[in-house]
């Protein structure tokens, strides 16, 4: 069967909701086993103590990225469907600003949204406060729409990929990202030896 199954209407909406719980289960299970239910394991990357977050994230991104490229080549996954219907749209400046705010929230709060849910499952009281803070933050955003509503959907570049932006092929870009990830793994190893905060 050629994926994506849902977009190809192989499975329906109600079935997809059941699948959502199963996929979420696997996601939450792996996040916990990665150590991401504890804010200390999530923030130690920023002090070069344990670059676990970088290793997990980059190896996950590369695995899924290469998997999709290979499945597309084998005719088992229709990448064009993703590009036409479901690739995340780029809003350049809002996403840049959002990244800055999110980075601040991550290192101050100690979690990101998904890991805070796993933190809650692990009994971490700080994750509960982080989630409560997020609810407030989302309200601040929603009720501040008169102020930033026009910025929020500005610099719309559409469904654009890295390879389209750099004018190369999907395969070349995927190999470049893989090489960058391998480089980052080496830098991570060096950074842990350096450990500037723990001298």
């Amino acid at each position: 069967m050629t994926g994506p199954l849902y977009l190809n209407e192989v499975i329906g909406y109600n079935t997809s909701l059941f699948i959502a719980i199963g996929i979420g289960f696997l996601f939450g299970f792996v996040l916990e086993r990665a150590g991401f239910g504890d804010s200390r394991n999530l923030t130690s990357i920023f002090y070069f103590r344990d670059m676990r977050v970088l290793r997990v994230m980059f190896s996950a991104v590369v695995t899924a990225m290469l998997g999709l490229v290979v499945l597309n080549r084998l005719g088992l996954f229709d990448y064009s469907m993703l590009l036409d219907y479901s690739l995340l749209t780029t809003y350049f400046w809002p996403q840049l600003v959002g990244g800055v705010l999110f980075g601040l929230g991550f290192v101050i709060g100690g979690y990101c949204p998904g890991t805070a849910v796993v933190g809650l499952a692990s009994g971490k009281i700080d994750s509960l406060l982080f989630l409560a803070g997020m609810l407030v933050g989302i309200d601040v955003f929603a009720f501040g729409m008169p102020l930033w509503g026009s910025f929020y959907k500005s610099s719309d570049l559409g469904r654009i990929t890295l390879w389209q932006y750099f004018g190369t092929s999907m395969e070349t870009m995927a190999l470049t990202v893989t090489a960058a990830a391998l480089g980052a793994f080496i830098l991570a190893w060096v950074a842990e030896k350096w450990a500037p905060y723990d001298k």
Partner: protein, 175 residues
């Protein structure tokens, strides 16, 4: 440096990363979209606020998209169901590893109350960030990253660049 206790007993990060990547790949194969988390929190915020003042939420420029006339309840949503699964998966993982522990994650000598205040404040800032970015580490960094979406990579780079700099100012929180 020897590993502290809180960092012990987990999977090798590359093994965990590949496992996570396979879950993500499966999600794309089945759904055509990736994983997510912050969207479910946004819907929860809409529902909680709606319970306090329905009018305000239904007229709000952002929240009203969750309350379309004749539409499903805001919590009947793929990502909300997925996040319920995340919670269940987390519980099963933490119980089978025997490390469920009611506690606060923080640097050893950092005051608990201050840590909880910063967790709440960080949640507020991060929550606002997820709305501007239209996603978080799951939806943008992991899922957008794996599909090589330009904006997701911009987001990911900014998250880490900012956090590495800001980390200096909150180093006592995590020391």
């Amino acid at each position: 440096m020897t590993k502290p206790d809180y960092a012990k007993g987990y999977w090798n990060p590359f093994v965990a990363g590949i496992a996570l990547g396979l879950v993500l790949l499966l999600t794309f194969y089945i759904m055509g979209t990736g994983l997510g988390a912050s969207g479910a929190v946004a819907r929860t915020a809409a529902v909680v606020t709606h319970a306090i003042d329905p009018q305000l939420v239904e007229k709000n420029q952002y929240f009203k998209e969750f309350y379309k006339p004749g539409g499903d309840h805001p919590l009947v949503d793929w990502m909300v169901f997925e996040v319920i699964g995340v919670f269940i998966g987390g519980i099963v993982a933490v119980l089978t590893a025997r490390r469920f522990n009611i506690s606060v994650g923080k640097g050893a000598s950092f005051p608990v109350i201050l840590r909880l205040i910063l967790a709440f404040g960080g949640g507020i800032i991060g929550g606002i960030g997820t709305r501007f970015a239209m996603g978080c580490t799951s939806g943008q960094a992991l899922s957008g990253g794996a599909t090589m979406a330009l904006g997701s990579w911009v987001f990911m780079m900014m998250v880490f660049a900012t956090a590495f700099v800001a980390a200096y100012f909150v180093r006592k929180e995590w020391q």
